[in-house]
Symmetry: C2
Subunit: 117 residues, 2 copies
């Protein structure tokens, strides 16, 4: 028997929209926070700017929350920063995700490991 590893995906949805927030958008927000711009964040994550921009738009629209503050123009072209709300979301989701990660490992050990042996 090959060694097994757990995998999981976690996200939030509304009645109208699937995937309004999840690991991808969480990583995006974190990256925006450290990089200071949407473009730099997308490059850092190795995803297209197009996708990053779409994801961010979707999250903000569906959650109806201002996660970031964007600015266009200027000599640096522009910037994107997390709002206080955005930072709160990152923190909360980080803890949320961490709890699940631990639970997955624990449950795997408890229920699957012995079966696989």
């Amino acid at each position: 028997m090959k060694k097994l590893r757990t995998r999981f995906k976690l996200w939030l949805s509304t009645k109208d929209a699937e995937g309004v927030f999840g690991d991808g958008k969480w990583r995006l927000l974190k990256s925006i926070d450290t990089e200071g711009s949407l473009r730099a964040a997308s490059q850092s994550l190795h995803i297209s700017y197009r996708k990053a921009w779409g994801d961010l738009k979707k999250a903000q629209q569906c959650l109806n929350v201002g996660l970031v503050e964007k600015q266009r123009g200027g000599i640096q072209g522009g910037r994107t920063e997390l709002t206080e709300q955005g930072k709160k979301w990152v923190k909360a989701y980080t803890r949320f995700r961490s709890d699940i990660e631990k639970a997955v490992e624990k449950a795997f050990t408890k229920h699957i490991r012995r079966l696989v042996k």
Copy 2:
């Protein structure tokens, strides 16, 4: 703020293959157990027989475990039943998944709910 719902996907992988077991294959095994055939199981789950067959093959090959016993021919055409190992997998994964489901709800309440409020 729209009401949020948690979503998660759970699966197991090896170094060589992604998704050797997970919610889909778990549901498939459960359905095989109640339906008695792969065809009936796939119809019950509203997935194509083609996919069900492929999923089952992949799980058995990658886990290197005999999850089902199949029989072809006969007046009823054939049948597919879970082996003891298959039943053990279903039970173990059921408990595994249930633990995660509870953890997700709990963590959501703890970390996200108040933020959304």
